[in-house]
């Protein structure tokens, strides 16, 4: 599968998330406090809300609409009203860029 250049590493602040659209798909890119990068689907599995407006705390992303909680490192749904896990994608950094492997 191809690695797609998503953004510069500094485009995401520490312990934060940004939205990344690719083709007709939307994703959420995360940077943790220890500067690790992650990628998940961009929309909450509960309703069609962009997680990029949510709150990143430790390894968790909270949906801005209903406060559903996911572990963004593995996509696991942690708190209602989310019941379905998020899909995650491999991420690597090279030469100051964040690359995402899409299926």
């Amino acid at each position: 599968m191809p690695w797609i250049d998503a953004c510069a590493i500094d485009d995401i602040e520490e312990e934060d998330v940004i939205r990344w659209d690719h083709g007709d798909r939307t994703f959420a890119l995360y940077r943790s406090l220890d500067n690790a990068y992650y990628c998940t689907d961009g929309l909450c599995t509960h309703e069609q809300v962009h997680l990029s407006d949510g709150l990143v705390m430790d390894n968790e992303i909270e949906c801005p609409k209903h406060n559903g909680l996911f572990d963004y490192t593995n996509g696991k749904a942690l708190r209602a009203p989310v019941c379905e896990d998020l899909k995650t994608y491999p991420v690597k950094t090279e030469a100051g860029r964040v690359l995402v492997e899409l299926d």
Binding site: E47, L55, P64, K65, H66, N67, R79, A80, C83
Partner: protein
């Protein structure tokens, strides 16, 4: 297939069937099977008005895009928003310690002074701390915003759910829907002011008897393994067993309370046998007036079926005691626009965005005066709603989609 899509398919099927079978609709209710954004003509067609979550209004909301719509938000820089959303344990731990201490103190003094009139004010205070303050704790911890630590939110959420008489599973999902589709008829299960407004029931709400009866019958129904069609519409099937479990837990606690009361009565303590009810369950009746007083202000007299919280929610400046009991939910437009902001940051959020909002009511009295006038007019003029003037600095009310929604106010002036 997504839940809404399934529902639309089911509704279409039911609509077709109802026409074939000639099913009767409620008074004033209309069924339009040609609903669709492009086909809607507000001046010519009637809008279904049915508060169930599986009726024609549900279909209308889904097909016109009112359901799960994109709502208006005031622009706030991401960095500022992150600061406002940031969670801490400190404020909620402090407030919870004070709350529990006051509950214990007032109940203890009420019991210690039993038989004297001096006990009365302590029971009244205990009643509000139990039967009203619990609502705000239920609400904030349900959102998961009160504490940073998740288990603290969960513990207080469950305790407060019992105190306020709500099944913690049903109401978690109900409230999620309330935030998705705030005051959208046929979608929102938490519309307090349903038209036509019954003022007798509204007045009775302040003493909680009717609502607590509804609560108890719902708990019994859930405990027997039954969920209503509305509950099934907003609670995922995987959660139904949990709803049954928690209903049984709540009923078991009430049963223990009854047994304790009977034991005291049999022991010959006479009127003191009412103490278990004054401590557990009873405050939901005799102490709920503050919860009702503040709760009815949230959306009363305002618009239905709009997608701008400035049109359907109310912010009210309140005295510090009410504000503490209510955990700052008086900033209700702000809360609905940004439900991730914890209660202790709502005042800051208000200061930041107030120039984009209608002016807040200056007191509970001022809000009631405004709301009461609007509600009385709604009783005379179905479809009327209070449309507050925005300051010049504000962006206009969100118009997108409103073209598909009935104009419920031909004279958009502020009610006297």
């Amino acid at each position: 297939m997504r839940r809404e899509q399934k529902l639309v398919v089911r509704m279409r099927r039911e609509t077709k069937r109802s026409k074939v079978n000639g099913r009767h609709l409620a008074k004033g209710e209309t069924m339009d099977t040609t609903i669709g954004p492009a086909s809607v003509n507000n001046t010519e067609r009637q809008i279904p008005h049915d508060y169930s979550l599986t009726g024609p209004s549900t279909q209308y909301a889904i097909e016109t895009g009112l359901a799960a719509a994109e709502w208006y938000h005031t622009d706030i820089p991401r960095k500022t928003m992150k600061e406002l959303m940031k969670r801490r344990d400190g404020p909620a731990v402090r407030d919870t310690i004070i709350w529990v201490a006051l509950l214990v103190l007032t109940a203890w003094l009420g019991i210690a002074l039993w038989g004297s009139w001096w006990a009365v004010p302590f029971w009244l205070a205990y009643g509000v701390l139990y039967g009203s303050a619990c609502d705000a704790r239920w609400h904030e911890c349900g959102h998961g915003t009160a504490f940073r630590t998740r288990w603290m939110n969960d513990v207080v959420y469950h305790v407060a759910s019992f105190m306020v008489g709500r099944n913690p599973i049903n109401w978690r999902w109900s409230h999620a829907r309330h935030h998705t589709d705030t005051i959208i008829v046929g979608r929102d299960n938490e519309i307090a002011w349903q038209h036509p407004i019954n003022m007798v029931l509204k007045a009775l709400a302040y003493v909680g008897i009717y609502e607590f009866w509804i609560t108890l019958t719902s708990l019994v129904r859930n405990a027997r393994g039954n969920l209503s069609d509305d509950e099934k519409a907003y609670i995922p099937e995987t959660e139904w067993p949990k709803a049954v479990f928690w209903a049984r837990i709540h009923l078991a606690i009430y049963a223990v309370t009854v047994v304790a009361s009977l034991a005291v009565l049999i022991g010959g303590a006479g009127w003191a046998s009412t103490i278990p009810f004054l401590v557990i369950g009873g405050p939901r009746v005799y102490g709920c007036w503050h919860m009702v007083m503040t709760g009815l202000l949230q959306h009363g007299g305002l618009a239905e079926n709009v997608i701008d919280h400035r049109l359907n929610s109310r912010t009210v400046y309140m005295n510090p005691i009410s504000s503490w009991i209510y955990w700052h939910m008086e900033y209700h437009i702000e809360h609905h626009m940004f439900p991730m902001v914890p209660y202790y940051n709502l005042r800051k959020l208000h200061e930041l965005i107030k120039d984009d909002l209608p002016p807040p009511n200056t007191s509970i009295y001022d809000a009631y005066r405004e709301m009461f006038a609007a509600v009385m007019r709604q009783r005379r003029e179905p479809g009327y709603y209070l449309r507050r003037d925005l300051p010049q600095t504000a962006k206009p009310y969100k118009g997108a989609l409103h073209q598909f929604v009935p104009d419920r106010s031909d004279k958009p002036e502020k009610a006297a």
